[in-house]
């Protein structure tokens, strides 16, 4: 039961931190609202474009590279799903798991080399 309480309490703390993390900006901004002046003009509210009149929307297509990096990230980051448990339980798993994980990492590396060779990693 104690352990269960510990478990719950730990996450309660985390929850409190989340609450604080949200509260601080909210409180500070609300407080600021009372203090700061507010005299919006049209000029103030235009988008900044180094002094010239802004043109077009900015929500345009950006370079597709960004997506590809995102894809790469997804793949490599998710591999940790396997790497972390393996690392934690490594002592119990022993050499065989090492060999398996080596194969796994080699596969990962092949993926990396693939991306590399296909010039995905090149910016611009």
């Amino acid at each position: 039961m104690e352990l269960y309480h510990l478990y719950q309490n730990n996450y309660l703390v985390v929850l409190m931190f989340l609450l604080l993390g949200i509260l601080l900006p909210v409180v500070a901004l609300t407080a600021g609202k009372l203090l700061r002046p507010s005299k919006p003009t049209k000029e103030k509210q235009t988008t900044y474009e180094s002094g010239i009149e802004p043109f077009h929307q900015s929500w345009v297509q950006y370079n597709v590279r960004y997506y590809i990096f995102a894809l790469l990230f997804v793949i490599f980051d998710v591999e940790t799903v396997f790497l972390y448990p393996w690392a934690v339980a490594y002592e119990k798993l022993g050499i065989f798991a090492l060999i398996e994980m080596t194969i796994f990492i080699i596969m990962l590396l092949i993926g990396l080399i693939y991306a590399w060779k296909k010039k995905v990693l090149k910016w611009m």
């Binding site: 600021g32 203090l35 474009e49 490594y90 050499i95 080596t102």
Partner: protein, 333 residues
């Protein structure tokens, strides 16, 4: 004290106490931020032989940052007409909240710690990733070309360096056999992981600098190309929160580095009469200093170099490190 609380049955009182403790930490962190900024100015000014930053307000400039904050608080807050208003307002919150949340699991000493969850390291890595969303959101919501570009770059950079960061700590997990940060610190009683895992430390430091968007990896906010990056359109206190996020992250990153590689509150042999918290503070300060030092010394990278470096150097090295660690573990332990 906290330990007892953690083992007792959850109640509203407990919740309140946790809240108060968290608020205490928050205050502490804010204090840190205030003086970290000052320290950064001073150290950089000193290193770069600039006189200006050393002559700032208050005794020794101690009040300079406070004045800055007050100024920001009183500044008018403009939201561009073209912006996506709800997202624009939400973005700083989403950036800041996780930065503070990660502190929940960091043990500063044997007794001074908050949450002691079994998967502390995973929690840290998982939560810290959320900030990227806030930055991206801010950049996008501004509806400004610089901001968008800055936001995108920042996101690309953060996710690119997230991978080596995540991979580099696997060596430590391997050696410890746990994700719990306390256990990791305790495992370093004899020898800090800095010496066992130098490669991992190297990767981790570089990746964390990149994660923090600090020079030489400060492309997202490169003044000379992008004006100010993702927060061009932010002003007043909203802008302050992005700034705050960065420094709170600096705090968190320095803490986690201390814990992972420098042995946390473990004293140097023969000096164990000094309390753990002090040891922690010393190591922590050292890391912060190194970060500032790096900023003062190195020029900014080019965007393409940045990406290539992350994927082509750090990631293979990190993978290699996993393998080396496993072999070391197999042979020595």
């Amino acid at each position: 004290m906290i330990q007892d609380l953690l083992y007792s049955a959850p109640s509203y009182l407990n919740t309140l106490i946790f809240f108060a403790l968290g608020a205490g930490l928050l205050m502490m962190v804010l204090g840190f931020v205030t003086y970290a900024i000052l320290a950064e100015r001073k150290v950089i000014g000193f290193m770069q032989l600039r006189v200006g930053p050393n002559r700032v307000g208050g005794p020794l400039g101690l009040l300079q940052t406070v004045a800055d904050v007050l100024k920001l608080l009183l500044k008018e807050d403009t939201i561009p007409k073209a912006a996506d208003r709800p997202l624009f307002i939400l973005a700083p919150v989403i950036a800041f909240a996780p930065a503070f949340m990660v502190l929940a699991v960091i043990p500063f000493s044997e007794s001074l710690r908050f949450s002691d969850i079994g998967i502390g390291l995973l929690y840290y890595i998982a939560i810290s990733g959320i900030s990227t969303v806030g930055i991206l959101m801010g950049g996008w919501a501004s509806n400004n070309k610089y901001a968008l570009l800055g936001g995108m770059r920042s996101a690309a950079q953060m996710i690119s360096y997230e991978v080596p960061l995540v991979m580099s700590v696997i060596g430590i997990i391997l050696l410890t056999g746990s994700l719990n940060l306390v256990e990791i610190v305790e495992a370093q009683q004899n020898l800090a992981y800095l010496f066992v895992q130098p490669l991992a430390f190297f990767i981790f430091i570089i990746a964390s600098v990149a994660e923090l968007n600090r020079t030489p990896f400060d492309l997202p906010e490169a003044e000379s190309e992008l004006v100010a990056g993702y927060h061009v359109e932010y002003s007043g206190f909203r802008w302050a929160f992005f700034m705050l996020t960065e420094y709170v992250y600096l705090f968190a990153m320095a803490s986690i580095t201390t814990i992972l590689f420098l042995g946390g509150w473990n004293p140097i042999p023969f000096l164990d009469f000094i309390p753990g918290v002090i040891w922690f503070a010393i190591k922590f300060s050292f890391i912060v200093f190194v970060m500032i030092w790096i900023r003062a010394t190195l020029p900014r990278l080019r965007a393409d170099q940045l990406m290539s470096f992350g994927w082509k150097v750090l990631l293979p090295l990190a993978l290699l490190n996993i393998f080396i660690s496993a072999v070391i573990k197999e042979i020595w332990f």
